[in-house]
Amino acid sequence: MTDEKNYMQKAWWKIASVLLLIYTFTCGLLLDVPHLPALQETIRNLYFHVCMWFCMMVLFIISVINSIRFLRSFDLKYDVYARQYAVVGIVFGILGYATGAIWMSYTWADPNNPAFQSFSAVAREPKLIGAAIALLIYFAYLILRDSITDMDKRARISAVYNIFAFAMLFPTIWIVPRLLPSLHPGGESGNPALDTRDIDGRMRLVFYPAVIGWTLLGVWISTLKIRLKILKEKKMMHETL
């Protein structure tokens, strides 16, 4: 790495992330929201659950960009970037999945049926299955990567695989769930949370800052992991020399 400070060492966007998150946590809980049946106060989960997926998507995009940069330059630095952004993206994806599981069990599941019966209905959700497939593809990325010992080969194969994994994201979480009937918002009716007719103005006031705050937090964690990994590699090089 060069001597000049790159974006990873700069503080302003980290401070921005913290401020936006504090804003999300206070205003997200305290400001007034539309009163809707079934959803009630759980509509506030929009500031948390949906943001996890936004953050995951942004991190995966950064990851695939770095994979392409690696394939263009064969600079191993970009390989480290791609890997760490993908890992943190997966973590946010799992968090999105877990929060979604909690949310749906109090809004979609039929309170009059035993839990098991409503589960069989809920588990057929195309969005859930799609998201699970997408995450599994990314798990496979990590397994593939870490099973190859040769550094250059590992970097090249995993960069190519990362591009395929990214391409698979679109059918699994964006296209297929939209073609099938679903309980999840955005089934057959466009973009949930982004459509201006779909989301209340009061909620947009918190939702957009929340997305930015969570995304910056994800990038922050990724940059820490990248810097640590690069330090480790440097140390290893010193020891072998």
Partner: protein, 74 residues
């Protein structure tokens, strides 16, 4: 790192003072104070903000440690 310790102890004392305030309230008449209004939602806000500050402080410390290591190795 001294600064971090100071911030931690300050937060700890703040958390303590909140609980002490809450206990004092029980013996006297229930007043419509901030923490007990609106179905006590502010308690949830306080808890979530505490978790958030904890996580952020952890990240900041990690960031500083890595920066120090980067300087050392350079």
């Amino acid at each position: 790192m001294k600064l971090c310790k100071k911030i931690y102890s300050l937060l700890f004392l703040l958390a303590l003072s909140i609980t002490v305030l809450g206990q004092g309230e029980n013996q006297t008449v229930q007043m419509a104070d901030l923490m007990r209004s609106n179905g006590r939602i502010y308690v949830v806000v306080a808890v979530m903000l505490t978790i958030l500050t904890g996580l952020i402080l952890y990240l900041v410390r990690l960031d500083r440690k890595i920066s120090r290591l980067e300087k050392e190795i350079k």
